[in-house]
């Protein structure tokens, strides 16, 4: 009796397995048919929602969500709705690897989107490459990412870290000879995103005849900039260009004010783009004339940018961060690739992106064979308590730059 029942159970189990396999077989067949299926496209990503990068990670997630919402309202991608699966990698290189492995092998997502920071994208993009899946990442411009010459990796900003300030160097070179700085100081944080920017700038400006009078690479733990500002003051440079992540940018300005030194031109990498926090940190009056480069501006008149800003405000009740816009742009690149390839074919999508330009809310983006972008950042400057775009001209919000920078207001 017992034996008979267990036989029946085994037969039933076998039947279930067979039916299950048949169903999933059908499903796969439908997908391969080229986006005819009405099933949603599942897009997987792992983001640093907790840990060191939780702020930008959270912003990136919101950027992806706004994109998905806007796209689904407009009928989806190639007629299919999109669905996001976002995991939390806790800002850990180990977790991000297991997350992307899980998304690919267990969750069997249709498409991938990248994570945040060079640190995390470096191992995560290798997982995607091994599995031959397109990997568009919103923030990770360190040269190391592109030295590996991956086929499926694309960085969805205008330029890699070393070329982030090219637009500022061009602006300096374009100044009349008597207004061009003669000497420069280059303090930079020891950070994979700031050091290359400053190194490239220093080389380019030295070639253009700007003499380096001071340079230092300070560790991320540095929190008091009085001694550095004091050394800069002693050298009296025309230009101070700082590789600043955030709080070190605020700290440097406050120390320069304390030591009583106001350079004719002040450039900082990322710090001044954190609009509210930056102007509160240094005092709004002291922001006047500070230059920086940035990947995105809420004011830039690129297609869909206005819709992005409005929807973000409505959904999250605050102004969108640059990190959120970068994520939105990465998703736009992915979307365009699917549309151009006429469905989800990872190789066809990668080939198409290598050969074509994509319009995003950051402006038009295009890539070389390694996935490194080939455009320019926006040159921005603080004017009358607001950040204005100076270059490129077609989206500029200010007629001219404030130069020289006025004295500190204390």
């Amino acid at each position: 009796m017992a034996r008979g029942r267990s036989k029946a159970v085994a037969a039933l189990a076998a039947l279930v397995v067979l039916v299950g396999a048949a169903c999933s077989g059908n499903g796969d067949g439908g997908d391969a048919g080229g986006g005819q299926s009405s099933k949603p496209i599942v897009i997987g990503a792992s983001l640093p929602l907790t840990g060191d990068f939780s702020q930008p990670g959270g912003a990136a997630k919101r950027g992806y969500e706004v994109w998905a919402e806007l796209v689904n309202e407009r009928g989806g991608v190639t007629g299919r709705q999109v669905k996001l699966t976002v995991l939390d990698d806790a800002s850990s290189q180990d977790t991000v690897v297991s997350d992307y492995n899980r998304l690919i092998t267990r969750d069997k997502v249709d498409l991938l989107l990248g994570t945040f920071s060079s640190l995390l994208n470096l191992p995560a993009s290798a997982v995607a490459e091994r599995n031959r899946m397109l990997y568009v990442e919103p923030a990770g411009g360190a040269p190391a990412l592109f030295e590996r010459k991956f086929k499926y990796l694309f960085f969805a900003q205008q330029a890699t870290a070393p070329h982030q300030a090219d637009v500022f160097v061009d602006w300096i070179k374009g100044l009349p000879a008597d207004q061009r700085p003669k000497t420069a100081a280059y303090p930079t944080q020891d950070d994979p995103f700031t050091t290359p920017v400053i190194e490239t700038m220093q080389k380019a400006l030295e070639q253009a005849g700007v003499k380096t009078v001071y340079s230092t690479v300070y560790p991320p733990e540095t929190s008091n900039f009085d001694t550095i500002a004091n050394s800069i003051k002693a050298r009296n440079p025309d230009l101070v260009a700082q590789g600043a992540v955030f709080e070190d940018g605020v700290g440097m300005v406050r120390s320069l004010i304390k030591v009583g030194f106001s350079p004719k031109t002040l450039f900082q990498t990322s710090a001044p783009s954190n609009s509210d926090e930056y102007s509160k940190g240094v005092g709004e009056a002291n922001t006047e004339g500070v230059f920086y480069t940035v990947s995105w501006s809420a004011e830039a008149d690129y297609p869909l940018n206005k819709e992005f800003v409005e929807r973000y405000r409505k959904k999250f009740n605050k102004a969108p961060e640059e990190d959120a816009a970068d994520a939105f742009a990465a998703a736009q690149v992915l979307q365009r690739a699917v549309e151009a390839a006429g469905g989800i074919d990872q190789d066809r999508m990668a080939d198409w992106l290598h050969a074509n330009q994509v319009d995003t809310i950051l402006g038009p983006l295009r890539w070389d064979a390694t996935g490194a972008p080939q455009s320019d950042f926006l040159l921005a400057q603080w004017q009358s308590g607001k950040s204005e775009i100076i270059l490129p001209k077609d989206v500029a919000t200010a007629d001219s730059a404030v130069t020289p920078k006025p004295d500190w207001k204390g």
Binding site: D52, S54, Q55, P187, D190, T216, V217, Y218, P219, E221, T222, S223, N224, D226, T227, I228, N230, S231, A234, F246, E247, V250, G251, R254, I257, K258, V259, G260, K280, G281, G283, N286, W408, G410
Partner: protein
Amino acid sequence: MTHAVQTVILGLLIGGVYALLAAGLTLVFGVMNIVNVAQGALLVLAALLTFELWRRFGLDPIAAVVVTTPVMFALGWVIYRLFVARIRTAPVSMTVLLMFALAITIEGVMGLTWKNVFRSVTPSYGNQSFHLGPLFFPKAQVYGCVTAVVVLGALYLLLTRTWTGRAIRAASENLQGSELVGVNIRGVAALTFAIGVATTGAGGSVLSVLYAVFPASHYLWISRLLGIVVLGGMGSVPGALAGALILGVAEALTATYVSTRWAVVVFYVVILAVLLVRPQGLAGSKLREDVAG
């Protein structure tokens, strides 16, 4: 020349602030033989409290000392009664573990309350300096140093001029002996610990003006403070003052004349050098167990 003098002045001003930050750590070690590795976390907590008072009520960060000091004193008392008192007789390593667990807990709570972003208090004088000829003295550092002198002075008077202070010192020199002559050891221990934590009130308030802090910055601060206390001699308040001034100047000189990369390493190099050459530090005396060992 002006540049060098200015660098030393900046170093001394920061050193004065370091002394304030390190005072509580060395006091608690001297009296109770507890290395309070949570001191850095408590310091950051006091800095964030100052930030909150400033943001909500516009309270000046230096004036906030009168609020943060009693709050931190009370917190120190509670921490002692709840946790430290239970393992008073356990080996030193156990207390280090306990305090480390406490530091991580405080870090987590701060992360939930204030998020993992940099916070700093920016009163109008935060960017200003006093000028004397070609030299400048950043106002915030000067106020910080004055606060340090006041708090360290008060601590010194408390330890040398009051009965409570004498009881604390007696307990630190000979536990059994002081108990024999009628010192309430448990009360003194709780009081000492609470006073040690209370110094983070003033320290944190000054810190919030001079540095941007976020929950995990306590690791940086506790390692700096340990460097100061080890150099000065574990347990010696005047030693901590000397150690703080020396390290403040050494850090500024290294940043200016060697490299900013090496400036943050100064503290760790000093810890190693002192332990190798003069384990008792500048002002510390050899303990009986050291001699026996």
